[in-house]
Symmetry: D2
Subunit: 354 residues, 4 copies
Amino acid sequence: MNFGSDNVYGVHPAIMDAVVAANSGTQASYGSDAYTRRAQEQLSAVFECELDAFLVLTGTAANSLCLSAMTPPYGAIICHGDAHILVDECGAPELFTGGAKLIGINDPRGKLQPGSIEKVLDGFSRGEHDPKPAAISLTQATELGTVYSVDEIAAIGELARSRSMKLHMDGARFSNALVSEGCTPAEMTWKSGVDALSFGCTKNGAMALEAVVFFDRALAADFSHRRMRAAQLLSKGRFLGAQMNTYLENGLWLDNARYANDMATYLKDGLEATGKMRMPLPVQANEVFPIMPRELFDLLLSKGVVTYQWPGEGPGNDVVADGEVFARFVCSFMTSRDDCDALVREVEAWNGAT
Amino acid sequence: MNFGSDNVYGVHPAIMDAVVAANSGTQASYGSDAYTRRAQEQLSAVFECELDAFLVLTGTAANSLCLSAMTPPYGAIICHGDAHILVDECGAPELFTGGAKLIGINDPRGKLQPGSIEKVLDGFSRGEHDPKPAAISLTQATELGTVYSVDEIAAIGELARSRSMKLHMDGARFSNALVSEGCTPAEMTWKSGVDALSFGCTKNGAMALEAVVFFDRALAADFSHRRMRAAQLLSKGRFLGAQMNTYLENGLWLDNARYANDMATYLKDGLEATGKMRMPLPVQANEVFPIMPRELFDLLLSKGVVTYQWPGEGPGNDVVADGEVFARFVCSFMTSRDDCDALVREVEAWNGAT
Amino acid sequence: MNFGSDNVYGVHPAIMDAVVAANSGTQASYGSDAYTRRAQEQLSAVFECELDAFLVLTGTAANSLCLSAMTPPYGAIICHGDAHILVDECGAPELFTGGAKLIGINDPRGKLQPGSIEKVLDGFSRGEHDPKPAAISLTQATELGTVYSVDEIAAIGELARSRSMKLHMDGARFSNALVSEGCTPAEMTWKSGVDALSFGCTKNGAMALEAVVFFDRALAADFSHRRMRAAQLLSKGRFLGAQMNTYLENGLWLDNARYANDMATYLKDGLEATGKMRMPLPVQANEVFPIMPRELFDLLLSKGVVTYQWPGEGPGNDVVADGEVFARFVCSFMTSRDDCDALVREVEAWNGAT
Amino acid sequence: MNFGSDNVYGVHPAIMDAVVAANSGTQASYGSDAYTRRAQEQLSAVFECELDAFLVLTGTAANSLCLSAMTPPYGAIICHGDAHILVDECGAPELFTGGAKLIGINDPRGKLQPGSIEKVLDGFSRGEHDPKPAAISLTQATELGTVYSVDEIAAIGELARSRSMKLHMDGARFSNALVSEGCTPAEMTWKSGVDALSFGCTKNGAMALEAVVFFDRALAADFSHRRMRAAQLLSKGRFLGAQMNTYLENGLWLDNARYANDMATYLKDGLEATGKMRMPLPVQANEVFPIMPRELFDLLLSKGVVTYQWPGEGPGNDVVADGEVFARFVCSFMTSRDDCDALVREVEAWNGAT
């Protein structure tokens, strides 16, 4: 019963097959291979526009490098207080941007609100003593498993443009958000003002694959240098291209995301029905964040359930009391219904006070 | 007939099998998996000592991160003028070290000589106006396909120690050098004063795998933070561990290297016998560097031979005249004897003047 | 009536005389001059210990460089949410530390509390995904004109040591705090666990002079390289040394600070007596922070009073309502009693509603 | 007899008087004062064009910050192998540019030649594996006391433009070069393709003053942020402005430079007439670089002559034999004819073999 992360599961079999199949003959190295070219074309088709796409190896690399093209070293990046770029990447954005300043805002439900962003920006009254506002970064789906609607994104896109800032989307769970919102990839990104996207694939079935996608192509001007300098240009690049080809073909990426989202909703319904925990947040993607008694949480750990006490600020619209835990359960493209059922049974069997 | 790089070939079948086999069940993410633990143990056994090993995704990452633990940002790193870290990594060492200064020395045959290093160090007479001498980096095998003997390494190790500097080895082709020199991994590294090694696997049959190996374990103190911040901590880390397990098991790494070296010698003998080019350098690993007429070089390109005009300073012990090309031919664990024969036949068939 | 900053006034006449007097004959450049040596000796005497002191040109340089010796690039620095290093230096600490992460805590009255620091540190539960806690930075006097007592500093010093972190003190207004607290320089620093101090002189009468003072001398090991690389090593260093000599001689620094503090208390008493504004904070150094009606604030500006709406989070122990302004008035070693009186008269003359 | 550096002498009396005179009343801080505005206007007048000028405190700051606006972190800066930015600033350009790569060329007489620059640029054949050629930096006067003619600068300016690179001039001794070449400041800079200038004043009589001057004003867009982040924005900025005002008024800067140049020529003639040393380089500014027997060099040191063995590569057009020293003698605006005469007499008195 492993709900610890999307990453504890392996690679989707079809993607693994594609990696194996790519292993024949010679191919130009460093991303000049046929697989990578095809991946770039596919991304352009999926997003229905001309774009510049660069394959990299980790999500942290995608985010940090993408941001490095969107801010000067003396710039500021506005993000949520729970954002992966702020609290999970050990300062990688600071490294790759040359020291830009990340400013976290603790809005509820993991979602930045335009008014909060404006307040921070209006507080930049010290001229050159302040950093230069450069970019806003949204996480889609958010770190709390919620999803920005297209309208919400567009409102922040509008704000970014009005302030001459760029809009970045950390799409580590982009596919989960996309199938949740039911719109097109274009609507969720460039049509709503997103300038660049970290397009995550690893959490959703790939082995080690993320794409930096620039809709504002001016940002891509020197990105090949940036990627090389960041040690993210794979010599045997065909294996990245091959993963992406299969990931996008026949909608595998959407099927995987839909399945994971469905499991999360299924799990949430089961857990909620036990009456032993409350759900402060809607489940809009593949993550469930209940508030539960610590005694129950500890019991689950002792039963071998892999889960996680969320270290951030809490949901923001509910208070985690002493003796309670704000926990995270992640479902992936491989999570089984049986595991969900087994977890619910453990919760049901607990007789402690809620 | 692709002699362009070790990287144009794919993955050794046994390693690919290991990757596929690792794709079952759940595993802790971010390098806490069983495969990675086993890899670390294996490296310790191979090098016959306690050590700290960290798996990363690219050779540039291995080098740059390794150096970042060996020099302060105001430090100097002495390397060969042709060194990969100096001329092929687009400034990645500068990024990861926070701006350390690489100082290249153009010694002949791609090999640093102690006297040349000392001369540079003695020239640091400006106190704090100079960078602080911090590390020496050797490339083994060198960029010109030559190999440092154990004695040569030990002499530089001695020099480093006497100057309170650290000794790094860029081992992108460590295995090729090792089988060439016929010593143990321990003798080629820590027994000769090497403090840290970039242990390359990708060029020699892996998919995307390098290890940073610290023999001076004090250097490893915070390396997990460094790796994370550099976006080199793979979430599905099992796939790195699995590659390394098979790479090291049953001496696959040595077999691959021996084969590639043999092919290079075979190719060199064939080419030399044609009398159409000269060999300024011994072939000690898996690369052949002839000087040939440009007309012949262009002919080979037109015949589909993939090769490369070396952009560096030349061999240093021979002069590349106008109308000549200093070319590089790389043999890998997959290079076929047939391809070598075919190349030699093309050269033989050429009737131009040498 | 200029209460805008300590910096709007010039240089104390005795210090200017010293600069002029130093302008004769030749002196070794780059800090090897006799004046600078004497300054280092004086600092050692003032702080009653062996120490390493380095003269630099700006307060931002002193802070950023000092911190660069106290944290690795992947480290975290805990500071107050209003700290100069966090919100007034345009990312200079990020530049000089190579990208370390500053984490601001909005404790009331501008003063960090041990419990708040511990809560942040305890939240670092993600291992290498978090930055490494490296340093705590106190501002003394604080940005809100309050002063840490020796006991308060010692408690944070204790906490730092127990967490293997270093303690930095931003002493841009160190002298103001010192005369306020009435202790010795040693008690306020190394005897309370401070490892390094930015010893500010410019705000208190010098022209352009700050000292980085290391009580933990291991931190100073390569600091001459750091200072040079940061472009803070003045070629005609005698003029820094000469300023410091006079600043410390005969207690000029303490006299200046005492005078400025006295003026601030005098001003605060006068303003408070008008009944037109409230004082949420004690005046412990040379700054006064009233909360007043915006109408009054605007009137003062229109009358030529130079003051400043504080852009930070507010005092934390009082709420700034709509229609109110949280303002800052700074007194310096040159502020005249007449200016204070004139300001109070303007406030008294205002007939608006409070 | 101090010929060690331009910096061993103090400040020109007129400039010191200006500093003293500026010390009255209040002034807006951080460069918003009247003196600084006037300095900017004067620079514009001197260079006969609209420009953006920023005052900073050290020459290393001027160079490094200026370059940071001219190259991305993944860029390359071409300079002479003896350039101050390469060998005297402890990596400050690497710090402020975020890790750009400086590439030194050892052309003779300290002067870059277009053909040498082109050869380096043509060698950048590895695409993203190479840094991106971004800027060329000339030193005027050069580190070897020679001066680029306007035609030589224009040729390099042309080359820079044709390669889409920017042209920087390190003008630590700009005034010495200017009076030597006898052209206008405009001709020596923007009319010859110079995009940005480090305009040095400290060596030529100021206390601590350099200006970054942008002729290509697009480069200045965010420079106020860069300067602040680099800790080079002086709070009591009036004292920088006041120095510049007097430096430029009534041609003081040109008079100082002319005097220093004259002294250097006078010294060179005297030394050469002794027949005890040879002069491999013309004296075109305020420095003399003889090659002399080490025995004579050591004698001079023992007699209290302050001079310097040049640590660089030598003049390039003459060979420094074993037993010889390539020495540097610097004359400043304060060097006395008596000191020159006394030095010549010491040389004449030496009876050793040449």
